[in-house]
Assembly symmetry: C2
């Protein structure tokens, strides 16, 4: 759908719009406006209109956006009109929390397997998962054609494990380890490091 | 130190520089360059030089940066030359993982108290914490002059709890609930929502 390359910062806001629209739909709303979305998200309405206009015409001047239509369009743009299987590597406290987290499935993602290299964790149960030996990971990813991984291993192991993931066919990695991965440009990587956010905020205090 | 207002996006990169520098220091390095930092982080060296120049002169053309000096300066700029006490609200799976996470203390933050409103969780132990009744939270925040909170409650309760936090004196909230908080502009808010990152990546797949 996009003819020119859309800036990555714009792409990054689309999931936020989608989340707000789903919340509105859940409250029974049918129509919204860029003003209302903007107030909800703390983003200017002009920014929202400009962002969405990069992908097409989703609303009419004066009548606003049909929420369910805009949800459907954003899901298509973000390739969320399917469910993505995900492998989770690391079954420590954080991996356990991620495995238990019920919030992925409604947003397009399903954890399929959980791996660890610790014999004390392999074979143990986390919710509905049995922790698998990391040595079987590559074969699972290949046979199930899994493209997305979440990495919840210690920082010192993250690079090595991420290379295993990429070699097995993973295209996108959500890295919870507090480090930067060095991977080919063709691999999507996003990071979650809560200390970075905390340190960003203390600057202003 | 900053005379003019530094763009927030620049401020947000400083913790990333700090993390990389600490990693280098941990490997025994003493000197680095914007090129080396850039390669490590996947950011251009020109960007790093420009960002740092907003805060002063930290290195000399040709000799690079003294890592320990730059770490010290960044810690001052980010107000990390002290330890910040943090309250954690929510003792579910995610709150439990956060309470167990050992990575905050070296980066300027110490979880002081953990709260929940569930009688089945109050009084229970998570690592070294005993989960406290949320009804005692405001008094603790006031008496201990705590300014930073982490919010790991369900999305439907996040707004209400965040308002309690702000009323008690909290200035900065790291929100793990998948929703947007509506708070005064004077309050710093950052969000962690893994699904947003996953959805951002699938756009490119």
């Amino acid at each position: 759908m996009p003819s020119q390359k859309v800036p990555d910062i714009v792409v990054g806001r689309l999931p936020l719009y989608l989340r707000a629209l789903n919340q509105m739909a859940g409250e029974g709303k049918e129509i919204t406006s860029s003003q209302e979305l903007g107030t909800h998200l703390g983003i200017s309405s002009a920014q929202i209109r400009k962002d969405l206009s990069q992908f097409g015409e989703f609303g009419k001047q004066g009548t606003g956006y049909h929420i369910s239509f805009l949800i459907e369009q954003l899901q298509k743009i973000l390739k969320l009109d399917r469910l993505w299987d995900v492998v989770l590597v690391g079954a420590g406290d954080l991996g356990t929390a991620i495995a238990h987290y019920a919030g992925f499935i409604d947003r397009g993602f399903r954890v399929k397997y959980v791996y660890d290299n610790d014999p004390g964790k392999i074979g143990h149960t986390i919710g509905k998962f049995t922790v698998k030996d990391i040595s079987t990971m590559a074969a699972d990813i290949e046979s199930d054609k899994i493209k997305v991984a979440m990495l919840a291993v210690p920082a010192g192991h993250a690079q090595e494990v991420s290379e295993l993931l990429v070699k097995a066919g993973i295209h996108a990695i959500l890295c919870y380890a507090p480090t930067s991965l060095n991977l080919p440009d063709s691999i999507q990587v996003q990071y979650i490091d809560p200390s970075l956010h905390l340190q960003h905020m203390t600057y202003y205090m």
